[in-house]
Amino acid sequence: MSLVSINNVHKYYGSNHVLKGINLEIGAGEVVSIIGRSGSGKSTLLRCINGLEAYSEGGVVVDQMEVVYDDRQIRKLSKSVGMVFQSFNLFPHLTVGQNIMLAPKLVRKLPESEAKVIAQEVLAKVGLAEKIDSYPAELSGGQQQRVAIARSLAMNPKVLLCDEITSALDPELVGEVLKVLEDLAAEGMTLILVTHEMNFARDVGDRVIFMHQGLVWEEGDSKTVLANPQTPELSKFINAVL
């Protein structure tokens, strides 16, 4: 039984057909990289998995819950699906600790003391235990993104969606964020990443999905797909990014 099941999903923005029937099954513990040109629909697909974006047709099931664009269902889904963004989206008026503890307290209804323990745990996991009382503005981009990952982990999700989470970082800070992802993958976390980090996709990822014009153009084992592209579109894309 797969953890994430995407069934013939279509998405239109007005007359613009962005997703043209996507079918995907992702199992627990898999690390899946979604690659493709901008505008190929990869971010939209990711945002359909946790209900941030409503799809027009088809169905998405995550952890045996149907994903529908509805506040109550999204609240329920948040306990299974975490998401990390390109622009971090930390809450600037709250400390790192408060950023992390907010959702466990409000959504999981944990008491302050328990939420604090969780915050310390997840921060230690991303190597930022000593930053619990800092404000986001006092951290580097890489540190902010690690806090954002920790904030998602505090909800104890089964799958973590990452939307180009290293694209806004200075090159020298990309490594520390990828390292955190690598650790998570080694622990068995299910990861679905929209990424331009081809090395990471090949070395850490299990599967690569190449999207083109709103379709899954090519997919398979990451090493095989990236080494032997079957379509001219993918080989062109690989040549362009490597």
């Binding site: 306990k79 963004f85 930390l90 907010l102 409000l106 959504v107």
Partner: protein, 216 residues
């Protein structure tokens, strides 16, 4: 006929200035209360509520405050409701300031990046939790400086209440001028008193703006 010394003029103006202050405070408090309600309606995203607030704002921003005062004062009495100049002035200024405050505050709320909403939603927070814990605390910081700045407009707006016979600073000035025939002196003092009321507010607004911008 009694003779007014400069001190008499100033003393009477100062006494009347109290009512300018009181009217300003009432208008601000009333405007803020109604404005907060309208802001919530405006950002709720419900078509009907948004349209209503839009119309309300256009109406009060698109007509002179003086006409609003006349309509409230004479309009209500035409409908058989005898209202005092006090009540009419307070009501008209409340309606007027609520429209502007709504517009200011809506802008502040919408200035909070979309990503803050998205991240909160992904964490499972409800609309009200997001508003309460994420959006409003940040919007408040942005809103303080322009809100204090707008309070200057309210103070100056109260001058129009003199026309429907409410005795505040401007009305007292008119009356004193009628008694003394020294318009330059009297209205000079009136202007100075308005300035003394408004200047600290605009300085505060500028200081707050600088301070809060640094903190972001």
């Amino acid at each position: 006929m009694s003779v007014f010394s400069d001190w008499d003029i100033l003393r009477n103006l100062l006494l009347a200035a109290r009512w300018t202050v009181v009217l300003s405070l009432i208008a601000f408090a009333g405007g803020a209360t109604v404005g907060l309600l309208l802001t919530m309606m405006q950002v709720s995203g419900r078509t009907l509520l948004v349209r209503f607030t839009r119309l309300y704002i256009e109406l009060f921003q698109g007509t002179p405050l003086l006409m609003q005062l006349f309509l409230v004062f004479f309009g209500l009495s035409l409908m058989g409701l005898e209202v005092s100049a006090w009540f009419a002035a307070a009501l008209a200024l409340t309606l007027f300031s609520s429209a502007y405050l709504t517009e200011i505050w809506r802008g502040c709320i919408e200035s909070i990046p979309r990503g803050q909403w998205e991240a909160s939603r992904c964490l499972g927070l409800s609309y009200f939790e997001i508003m309460r814990h994420i959006i409003l605390p940040q919007a408040l910081k942005v809103a303080i400086a322009p809100t204090v700045g707008f309070s200057v407009q309210i103070v100056k707006g109260t001058a129009l209440a003199s026309i429907i016979g409410f005795v505040e600073l401007t009305k007292a000035g008119t009356m004193l001028n009628n008694a003394t025939f020294e318009p330059f002196k009297v209205f000079g003092m009136v202007a100075l008193l308005y300035f003394l009321l408004c200047y600290p507010l605009s300085v505060a607004s500028r200081k707050l703006e600088r301070k809060l911008n640094v903190a972001r």
